[in-house]
Every structure is written in C-alpha cells, then in structure tokens.
Symmetry: C2
Subunit: 589 residues, 2 copies
Amino acid sequence: MGESIRGLKRTHHCGDLRKDNVGEEVTIMGWVQRRRDLGGLIFIDLRDRSGLVQVVFNPEDNQEVFTKAEKLRSEYVVAIEGQVQERPQKNPNLATGEIEVHAKYLRILDEAKTPPIYIQDDLDVNEDLRLKYRYLDLRRPVMQKNLILRHRVTMLVRKYLDRMGFLEIETPILTRSTPEGARDYLVPSRVHPGKFFALPQSPQIFKQILMASGLERYFQIARCFRDEDLRADRQPEFTQIDIEMSFVTQEDVMEMMEEMIIEVFSGVGLSVFHPFPRMTYDDAMNYYGSDKPDIRFDMKLVDISHLVKDVDFKVFANTVKNGGQVKGIRVEGCANFSRKEIDELTKYVAIYGAKGLAWIALKEDGIKSPIAKFFKEEELDAIIKEMGGKTGDLLLFVADSPQVVAASLGALRLKLGKELGLIPEDKFQFVWITDFPLVEYDEEEGRYVSLHHPFTHPVEEDIPLLETDPLKVRAQAYDLVLNGVELGGGSIRIHNSELQRKVFKMLSLTEEEINDKFGFLLEAFQYGTPPHGGIAFGLDRMVMLMAGCDTIRDVIAFPKTASATDLMTNAPSDVSKEQLDELHINLQK
Amino acid sequence: MGESIRGLKRTHHCGDLRKDNVGEEVTIMGWVQRRRDLGGLIFIDLRDRSGLVQVVFNPEDNQEVFTKAEKLRSEYVVAIEGQVQERPQKNPNLATGEIEVHAKYLRILDEAKTPPIYIQDDLDVNEDLRLKYRYLDLRRPVMQKNLILRHRVTMLVRKYLDRMGFLEIETPILTRSTPEGARDYLVPSRVHPGKFFALPQSPQIFKQILMASGLERYFQIARCFRDEDLRADRQPEFTQIDIEMSFVTQEDVMEMMEEMIIEVFSGVGLSVFHPFPRMTYDDAMNYYGSDKPDIRFDMKLVDISHLVKDVDFKVFANTVKNGGQVKGIRVEGCANFSRKEIDELTKYVAIYGAKGLAWIALKEDGIKSPIAKFFKEEELDAIIKEMGGKTGDLLLFVADSPQVVAASLGALRLKLGKELGLIPEDKFQFVWITDFPLVEYDEEEGRYVSLHHPFTHPVEEDIPLLETDPLKVRAQAYDLVLNGVELGGGSIRIHNSELQRKVFKMLSLTEEEINDKFGFLLEAFQYGTPPHGGIAFGLDRMVMLMAGCDTIRDVIAFPKTASATDLMTNAPSDVSKEQLDELHINLQK
C-alpha cells in the first residue's frame, strides 16, 4: 500500500531506482540533499529512507517547473514526477548512479531553513548539537541504518522466542523498588500521599512471579531504569531482552540462548563463531584479569608467583609472601619500546592501583631490564620460560593484590591489544563465563554482596557452605561476553522460600527488610513454584556492537546526555506549584 | 530445545498427549490440579501451560512411587515419568481424555500450601483477592489464554507492520510533559534539583519528530501513562499500538490500518466483516447519539423535531423552539412494557440529564400513551410513521438539548439492545468515524478544545475558517470503533509551524506556553518536514474485546486497582528520607 499527497501517488523510493526503470514515469518524494546548477540545468540529489537519486530540471523540458526548482534549497521536502533516464556520466559510488530522473512536475511539500548540522555520515560536530537537533541528526543515513538494524534485531529476537514457545508479557513500569542495588527513579503517588512508585531496574521479580504463575516461558523487550551517575556509556533508561524459563537447568538456558544469538546475528548478516567457548570465572580472572575477557586475541596473564616467592627482589617476593600475586604479560615483538613508552604504560596501570610496572625487554643484543640485576640467571631464565618469552618480546609485570593485578594487567592487555592492532575488528567472538562465586565480600559495606543478584541459586552441593564459608559457594550463573563486553547475564533462580530467606540473611538483610520488600515473593514461593532460570541481554549494547558504534547513544533514537538531560525537549523541566501540591510534595530550599 | 531437571528431560507437555502416544514412555512436569483416591489407586490431574492430563499411581506397579504420591496435594509441582495408556473410561470433555499416564517415577519439585483461591476458570471471588494473589490467578487457564492471545496479537501486529516497512523505534519514558490534557506522572530529577521528568501520555510528539527525521514509517507498542481517577475501565499505565507514516493522506492511513486489523483478527481466528463501513461524526451523533456507535444492531435515533415544533404539547414544541431536539427510538415488539419498566427507563435516561421520557405504545387494542392526548390524530400518525412504528412497538422520546438527547437516547439504545438480546455477541463489527470537528467549545474552561489533539490537521479548505468560525472547521481525523468501543484514533498532522502556531493560539495557549512546551517541535517543522499522519490503537481494549472479557484488567498481567495500587507488591510504598533528600523534595505535612 502506498503513499500519496493530494493527487500524487508515490510510485518508487529514491534509492530503489535502477537501469531497469529507464523509460518509466515515476513519482518520488523526499528531501533535497543538495542542489547544483550546471550548464543551464539544475541537478538535485533527492533523499528518502531508501537512499539518493539524481533529479534533473531542464528549462527546455518545462520552464515553469525549472523556475520552481530554482527555489529549492537543502532539506526542502518535495514530490517530483518525471521519467527515469540513463545518466550520461555514471556515478559508480551510488546505488542509483546509472540513472537520473528528468523532472516534469515539482511540488514543494515543505520549505526548510538552512540546517545547523550537515545531513551526512561523516559529521564532525559536537555531540550536544547533534542531540539538540536530533531530528536532523537522525536524517543521516548512518543513524537511520542503526535504527533499522535495531528494529531488525528485535524482530529476529521475537521471531525466535515466539517459535520456541515464549510469551511476551508486559510487566509494570509503575512498580515497587527493585533490589538491583542501583538507585531507583521514584514517582510520587497522587492518590496515596507520601507514597511512591519506583521505575523498575529490571523486571526480575515479575518474571519470577510469572514462573510461579505457570507461564513457563516468558520474554519481554523491556525498558529498565537506573538513576546512576552516567559515567561511561550508560543511559537513565535502557532496554533489555529479558527472558525466563521454567523446569530448566543452566545448560538448557545457555543452549536456548546460544541458538538465539546465532540466529539473530546471522539474520542481520553477521557471522559468529560457534559453539561459543566457555570459561570459568576463575580462568577468566586468571588469564584475562576480567570476568568479561576479550578473547579475540591472546596475550594471557601468566602467573609467576611460584617462581618469585623466594627471590632477592623484595617487591616480588614480599608481595607473594603477603598473599599477593606477581603476574606478567608477553608483548610480542615490542622489546624496543622506549623508556618513555614504558613510562606511559606504568602511568596507565597506576589508574588501576598498580604501584609499578616491572619489565624485561628481550632484545637482539641481550636482556634489558631494570630488575634483572636482582635475579639469579636461572631465576630469570625460569621466568622468561614461564612467560614464553622470545627474542624481540617485552615482558611486563605487576606485583600486587590479586584484585589490583587482575584489574591493571587486564586493562593493560586490552590497551596494548588495541594499540598494537592485535584485535580483529570485524570478528564477533562470544564466550560464556560460568562458575561465578555466589557472593563477594564488600569491604566498604562490611558485608557479603551478590555477584549477580540475591535470587541466584547456589550450586546444589555448595548449599551447606552458605553458613560456613559463603565465599566458596558457587552460583548457577552465567554471563555471555562478546568482544570483551558483557552482553548478558543470567542464572538459575532460587524457588524455595527458606533458601531465599537464608540467602537474604547472608546478605545482611534484616527480617523487616526481607518481609517488607520481598514478602510477596517469599509467599508466592509457598504455593508451588517450578525450578526456573533466565537471562537478560542489554539490547543497546548488542546493537551497538553489531553496528560497530562506539556509544549506545548512536543506537538509541532519543538518548540523554551524561547529566541525564534531553537536549531536544529540555527534559527534565520545571513543574507548577499546583502539580506539586497534587503530589503532596514540596521542593527543598 | 527442551527442559530438564537434574537428570530428567521433559519429553511432552501435559495437554499434548493423545491416543497416538499410547505405549510411549514420557516425562511430564507441572502442577497437581487435583488428586482423587479411588479403588486403591491415586489419580491426579497434572496441569501445565498446555492443559491437563490424568496420571495414575498404582501400588502394584511400584509401592515406593505410590507412597510418595500419597503426599501430593493441590499445586504441588512435580516431574513424572510414566507410560501413556488408553483410559478405561474416556473423558470427552478433556483434550487428553482418551489416555492417562501410568506413573513409574515421581519427583516432587516443590510443595504447596493450600492456595487461597481455586485454580479454575469459573472463579467467584473478590477481584482484590485475585490481584493480591495474582500469581495464583494467572495459573487459571482462562487467564493464561488471555496472555497468550495478547502475545499473538502483538506478534501479528509487528509482523504486518514490519512487512509494510514500518520500523519499531523506542521513544523515551523519562520525558517532558506531553499535551494530551490528562495529568502527568512526574519523576523528580536528582541531578537537576527542582526539575522533573514526566512519563509520556503517548509518544505523539516523538513520532512526529521521527517523521521530521525522515524515518517515514514508525510504529511502537508503547507504554503510556495517565494519572487520572480510574473511573470506568482505565489503568495508570496502558499500552498503545502507535503508528505514524509520512507522505500520506487520510485514505492511505485508513487503508493500511484496515488491512492490519483484518490480518490480526483473522490471525487469531476471528472473522471480521469488511470493508469496514464508514460514518461521519454527524451521522454517528444523529443516528446513534454517540461518536462510537455500536452498529451491530439497528434501533437508530429518529429526529421528529420538524413534526413537533408547532404541536400543542409544549414540552416538545418549546424544546424545538429553544434550539433543542425531539428524538425517539422504536423498541420493536415491546408495546407491553409495564409502567414500572418504563419508569426504570426514565430513571436511566435521567442519569444522562434527560428530564423525562415520553412514550407511545402501539398495542393490539390501540395506542396507549400519556402524551397522545396532546396531539391531533394526524400529528400522531405523522410521528408514528416517521418512527416506522408498527403494532406491538414501543416508541420512546426525549426532548432536550442535542447533547442531552444524544447522550440519553444513545445510552438507552445500548441498554435496550443489550437487555433485549439484539446484539450478536460473537460479531466483530468495525466502523470508521470520519469528518470530526477540529474543536468544540468547552463551556467550563471558556475556550475551544481539540476533539483529538492540537496536532490534528484541519481539512485544507476549512483552514480560513480557523479565525472566523472554528466550530465549523473539520479535522482530517478518523476513529476506528469496534462494537461500540473506540479502538483507535488518528489524524493527519500539522507539519507547518505557522499553522501549528495558529491552532495553538485558537486553543488559547499563550505565546509563552507554546514556546516553552512546543518550541522544539515548531523549530523542527522549519527544517523540512513531510506531510504525515498516523493512528494509535488501545491494545488492552483490543485484546479485551477479542477475548470477550469485561475488563482490561483480565488481559494485563499485573494491573492496578481503581486506586492505582498494586495489591501484590503493595506499590506505591514508603521511601526513606535519604531518598527524598537525594531528589531534593520533602513530603507535605
């Protein structure tokens, strides 16, 4: 079914016209991308969602139409009737480059002021300007391509899940504070003075309730909200592919999801290596210093603690003796890094808390290293051997607590991988991370905190350890990592109210907090709840990686700035005293 | 891909087992619907999302399993291995009624307390109890059927729109106050003290911005929010199928949408009469007293004003002389309504402001009517003829202002249609309503108000009337009505900033309000915006009508009560002083 404007019926989209259409009378509608006057003719590139086509106005064909065309400026919206003709000079860079449309009729549908930003893919302007004029920014083909990709991805996700018997079920946006641990957005209630709704950080509890309801397979492409400081690439609202299944083990969920990811990626023309490799949390931390390892390149972290625990070099030996680690990475062929370059790397690891960066350069003309003198030759040989060092390599070491070693060397590995061009940019390398610990100890809060969330089911045989050695308890949890980005995380959930209560208590929730926040969930668990588990994927991140963008803002139609402002609409904004009174609140002075 | 629980792999769903499966060893999982002990055997009905199947435990097959089965109670969650066998006594009322499963293995996955409500379709309990234990309520097959239907409807909508080149694009939930005229839900900003986001009443402005962005065809199954008093069947948050297209006329949108509705309804097995009839707003008001007429039955309103303007019966004559109307409906074969019945009807129309209900009963033995004596015989004959009255009919009349006549007789028509069984309940009768006035005059507010919204484009040739006679201006607007319920409404939008400004001013918005609230939209319109239009359908209502439910709460997984409370989670709830401080607000005393 087509489009029409008072007597004109659109017959084609601009970008679809080809040599096959030569001789046809067409009606096209769109935006003037640019106008050139040349040899007494007017040429315009007409743009619609499908692409560009060249239109020619010739005064000898029709003087009246030509005169009208003289008014055309960039971004005018027009409808044009004309004939498709072969182009004297082909443009091989344009899909429609073999033809042009000779205009016989022109209607100006809307005029346009000169836009403050150019409508072109390679745009070098302040992002704030793009966000303020988002409607112009979204005219750029690259942005339209991103939104089209996002649409296709969600269609493919839905198609797959529907076929697998999942039901998309909407859960409330006006709800109760959820326990993801981030700050909630709150909505004052007018009907219930002093009370507030919270916007959901995720539909976690509702999807578990749906399993208690016997719906068995649920999904939702769900909006979620976190009132966090928007460091890094976060948005106050984001979208999650949220999934839950009953009567399943971890294996069932992972298998179902791996199939989905493969189908979705290949559905948009991206090839994916599969089956996805799997890695335990411990291995990920040991070899990559991260629970979201980028395994597109090697350069693993190597533990040399056992080799240095008794050496004379006290920095290494004492670190190991005090429960720390010494680990290194081998930077292939970089023995000739300058002192200045190494100083830069040292500054870089300092960001992650490392107090220093030891190095050994295996030069053609021998070992160069400020620390070599502290080692016996056989000690040095053993270290180089353990590191797999070859002539031409640079070996870099950090000695510190396991956390600092992992964070700093993990980050250094990524930095070097990127700068040395070791990362194949067009490769989509997934990896499942499994066997997470259930909890870690938060020194600052002085209590155990969940690695995933408090609903995660412990590994069955570790349940007795909950009371004796919580840090040893493994979780039935799994993350899917793509190219070093955490794409999704899930777990088998607790479905027994006593076990859930035990875990809440281990996390130092008081009886009152448990009953107030989770009473209804614990009660639901008492009426027959099946074993269940699920996962949630970050849609924004997924599409960002697929599109090859650097920020999720480029795959969200109307994102907010780092200070959570919408520069186009100027939200948030002032409200009236009457509105506040209705909501029973005052502004603080 | 299947489900499994520690060594057990689910092979079938309960409701899928048939005579063909006899002899097969199956593993099924689900909830105990009920247990009966009979003749030394234990029978249970096992329920999952697909339906019920009978399972038999025989102590002679396996004493251990039988002993375990003695523990089973309603709503226990179990996994059962067994063999499908033909049933000695078939149950023709059950899809699986020809077979039963002879249990060889039983695992209790979860126990259950006695549920406070029965898990059965015909449930006669207080709705509040159902909402508090929503997870039990949602176990009822009828509720699951509703959610499955809703899922299928949204899948069909998306499939159709995707095929037609529409892109689903997410618009913000944290946004600026929208101008639908209802009260906004507000969200205090933490980063910007004293400022607030609003939850969208619809994505109206964003979808128009997307048209200005050249996305051409947009849709979204969008959550919308209105902080209204929840009289009737409303929810604080509801879901809308939201659609917008560029380069279109009203006809294009209506054609595209009619195809969609037909495809979606037939996709879930509901047949629809089409092409949909069309009716002007004036005709709808004249003949049905409503802009959402239920045309599944006749009983149209008949105007007899011209026949009674000079009669002696002053109630009629004076009403017409003072600008009012006299209209009637013919209630076929109801001449023998008792005085008491007619009194009831009189009380009913009084709700809608009618001061009385005149009647003429065309009995076998002559006319009976308290007003007949005021008319000459030929006057009475003319009225009866105009009404199409036949022996046995009851004619009912209201004399009042056009508004009161329409409201009261329209409502009376519906009441009688329902009570007399004139409405074919299983028929889906659509009708497009067109040619709405752009504005009406709101006596209370003392200004013109939009019938649809302020972005509606006037009919081109009526634009000059905007300044001279606004009430005469017709809108390029259209509603889709199903069985007397407004299912959707849309319009061609204004895409010119000057025309938009003119309309805002006609609606008595000040220059400041216009610039503050809509400045960015008016600015967007200056950079080349295509003609565009769209529509929005109420998904909740649509599914409600499809499912044959009386309330949208039965097609929403987690609805709120009339006082906007979630009885399951107890939202809204208290928040801490710290949270309020972070948001820079205080509670009013």
